[in-house]
Symmetry: C2
Subunit: 354 residues, 2 copies
Amino acid sequence: MDHVIRPTLIIRESVCKNNIKRMAEKAAKSNVIFRPHFKTHQSEQVGNWFKDYGVKRITVSSAEMALKFAKAAWKDISIAFPANPREIPLYNELAGNIKLNLLIDSSEATQALAEKINKPTGVFIEIDNAYRRSGVPHIFEHKIDKIIGDIDKAQHLSFKGFLTHSGNTYAAAGTEEIRNIYQESIAVLRSLKEKYLPKYPGISISIGDTPSCSIVDDLSGADEIRPGNFVYYDLMQYYLGSCHMQDIAVAVACPVTGIYPERNEIVVYGGAVHLSKEHLDRNGKFYGLVVQFTDDGWTEPISETSVISLSQEHGIIRTTADFLSSVKHGDLLGILPVHSCLAADLLKENSFVI
Amino acid sequence: MDHVIRPTLIIRESVCKNNIKRMAEKAAKSNVIFRPHFKTHQSEQVGNWFKDYGVKRITVSSAEMALKFAKAAWKDISIAFPANPREIPLYNELAGNIKLNLLIDSSEATQALAEKINKPTGVFIEIDNAYRRSGVPHIFEHKIDKIIGDIDKAQHLSFKGFLTHSGNTYAAAGTEEIRNIYQESIAVLRSLKEKYLPKYPGISISIGDTPSCSIVDDLSGADEIRPGNFVYYDLMQYYLGSCHMQDIAVAVACPVTGIYPERNEIVVYGGAVHLSKEHLDRNGKFYGLVVQFTDDGWTEPISETSVISLSQEHGIIRTTADFLSSVKHGDLLGILPVHSCLAADLLKENSFVI
């Protein structure tokens, strides 16, 4: 830790590997394909840890990320973001080297791909169950039929099945609601699969979100799961009930640059460009909780202590007189991020593994 | 624009240069040193545009940024972030090559520097008027005396004066309040300067925030100004009254990847990792306004249209049926950012100038 001079993402290998192991075992027990989403860590090193658990297929959220992991010898990649017609040359480059799956939710997108994709490429149809981000609403059967018809006509596209991301679990009031959202999603996707299976015997259904995959014990209703955040977890997942505090595998190490006893506040070098402005609101807004580093990791969060404000490079921690008096200028404090995907993205060139 | 395949920061050179010219002229008329903050653009190219307006001294917010601009031949740099004891070796490296100023707000920080700084280095004392981020509260005269005493004793440190960032202008209800905050800050810094000037005849006072520097006409109360955001401006500044809509010099170009007439929404490739989660709330939360690109820039914001939600890579735009029907899959839409400093930081490797 003595080498940490600026905000740095500290990744706990043992915690991270436990998170991977737990999810891999659940996938195996549920007899579903485990295709983890690598957008959270975006790290070749962390990616390699998945290989020990038999993972060969992965998910990413951009063509850029797919190229990065294809270079790192991953051979079967789904880009779980609606196909972007401006990146078709990159898709062709990828599909020439790896097994590539894309995501579509419109006839327009399918036709754009049909016209310019010149290598064998799988396509999943994204279904919008209730999240209202991307995807075809499952009730629009004529649209789904039209897209499948367009895929059939395309020389290099093959229909792989139905995929959804139930991001609405992030707004759920509790684990019971998350289970319900999961069951509804599975029911919708299974009925679509059953409808089209006779004509397309190879199709599968793929689900994604970390809250569902963490909270639901039996995932056998799906054919494939694509959780991403679970590799690190974070405070958002903790408060959703997806993980325990000790499952959070990352903390941002921040140097203390100011101590203000008159207002029980500490300023650290660690701001919006390191943690992101993602926040939670539980009796007040906060951008992270504070831990102290130990020989092999970090403590539980310090009580009555949180990051209450962020500007570009400054983080303001409000705490107790007691904790404040124990902190010295130049100390390192750890901040558990609200949303590890964003913090890890911001610090992808400034991280290390313990 | 045909080459834009993913979220890209588009910088309008003419607008940007106008913003620089206006601020440089105001500084000259007010007879204050113009030491612009480069944390907003972090760009060598944009930095060079300042040279045409006589700028030789700059501000940055980290040692890393100072090293970058020192390499780009900037010879007089202030790091306007509380000195970080863990980066003292970098400060020495810098101070060996350029004229360096650091910021301190405690005796502890001063003593840490005194012990390890081995090249001539200027130090400003940061004063906290009312913002409550970093800085010594101006009423703590004994603390200020102690810090100055510590500087006097340090072999390589020289006392440069008092600096403040009135970030509380960002929470102001209107331009009148911003003027009042500015006047109060100036009054506080001037009285400190007058007190210490007899013993330290070279000291000056430095103020910073873009709202004050944009809204107040006569800045002659200060000796130096350090605005940063004004180079690009953004929606936050527009609603504060710091700029006109046409002064906003950056838009994030985002490919359209989904069109949903049933809910009057468009999904673009452009999310929290491109725009940041900074938002405004004016009859509803939003993360950006939407423009269309023209031959030499972009239109005014499309009416009744805004970015209502962001996930890691997706942006959801809510709009009218009318505008929605004019948009095609694969089009590029421009998003005016809420906070250009954060968007520019996120897209610093993915930007271009028009």
